[in-house]
């Protein structure tokens, strides 16, 4: 059996990579994809603990997270489309109209 903490390390690694992706990349689609990655890391964490305790609560929670991720991806991509139509850009650096 793989000890639970191994799964946690995996989750942490994916999470960190996701955070780096969100903070660092300029292309908003990549940012969105990095967010999906973070959510995924959390899912792994939840399911690992669910397996550790022997209940399914973690899995149910993970289902909800997936649902949420779907909704969010849909709306987010809609926004990106709308923005792209207006400004012809996909770079987060150029989306600063709401500055002071």
């Amino acid at each position: 059996m793989v000890p639970v903490d191994q799964y946690l390390w995996l989750s942490l690694a994916l999470f960190t990579i996701g955070v780096i992706g969100v903070l660092t990349r300029r292309n908003v689609i990549i940012i969105l994809m990095s967010i999906e990655l973070i959510l995924n890391a959390v899912n792994i964490n939840l399911v690992a603990f669910s397996h550790m305790f022997g209940t399914v609560d973690g899995q149910v929670f993970a289902i909800f997270i997936i649902t949420d991720a779907a909704a969010e991806a849909a709306v987010g991509l809609g926004i990106i489309l709308a923005f792209f139509r207006n400004r012809e850009t996909l770079l987060a650096d150029e989306m600063d109209m709401l500055k002071w």
Partner: protein, 168 residues
């Protein structure tokens, strides 16, 4: 070193490697493909954790739904010029450092609580029916969140339609 471990190491290496690749590719289509790979690897991990229903949901929903959506949108907005621009923004170094710091913190936190982790209980010979258990929980104890999630999906649908439609 059981089959579990080998499979676990395989899937986790695949996941992490794909993740890294995804974050570093210039071409966003490549990035999308690598994300698909990562998600599939994650699905494998779920399976290792005996969460069959979640494994299927992951593959169908996440990969088959969300990523397809991503690819559609990528196809809609793909610009050749984006291949020639900088990939990483100005705050990359600070961001990198901070992200690593965050990772380190969580690492230390996990390290601190490691003692309270215990291995999974012995897996019974006959596996309980995971899907049924999930269904029991989902429609039983978690009914309310379920309904709320459905409303969430409705709202998201409307939002997506509104956001993406062409102004007349």
């Amino acid at each position: 070193m059981g089959l579990n471990s080998i499979l676990f190491y395989f899937f986790s290496a695949l996941a992490v490697g794909s993740a890294i690749l995804m974050v570093t590719r210039r071409n966003i289509v490549h990035g999308a493909v690598y994300l698909i790979t990562t998600l599939l690897a994650t699905a494998g991990v779920f399976l290792l954790l005996q969460a069959e229903f979640l494994f299927i949901v992951q593959v169908i929903l996440y990969v088959g739904g969300i990523m397809v959506l991503f690819v559609f949108v990528i196809m809609l907005v793909n610009l050749d010029v984006s291949l020639l621009q900088y990939q990483f923004n100005r705050q990359r170094f600070v961001a990198g450092v901070l992200a690593l710091a965050l990772g380190a913190q969580i690492f230390l936190a996990i390290k601190m609580g490691q003692k309270s982790l215990f291995p999974a209980t012995r897996v019974p010979e006959i596996l309980p029916k995971n899907t049924e258990a999930v269904a029991d929980a989902l429609f039983g104890r978690f009914m309310l969140p379920f309904e709320i999630a459905s409303i969430l999906l409705l709202v998201a649908m409307i939002g997506a339609v509104v956001m993406a439609k062409r102004r007349v």
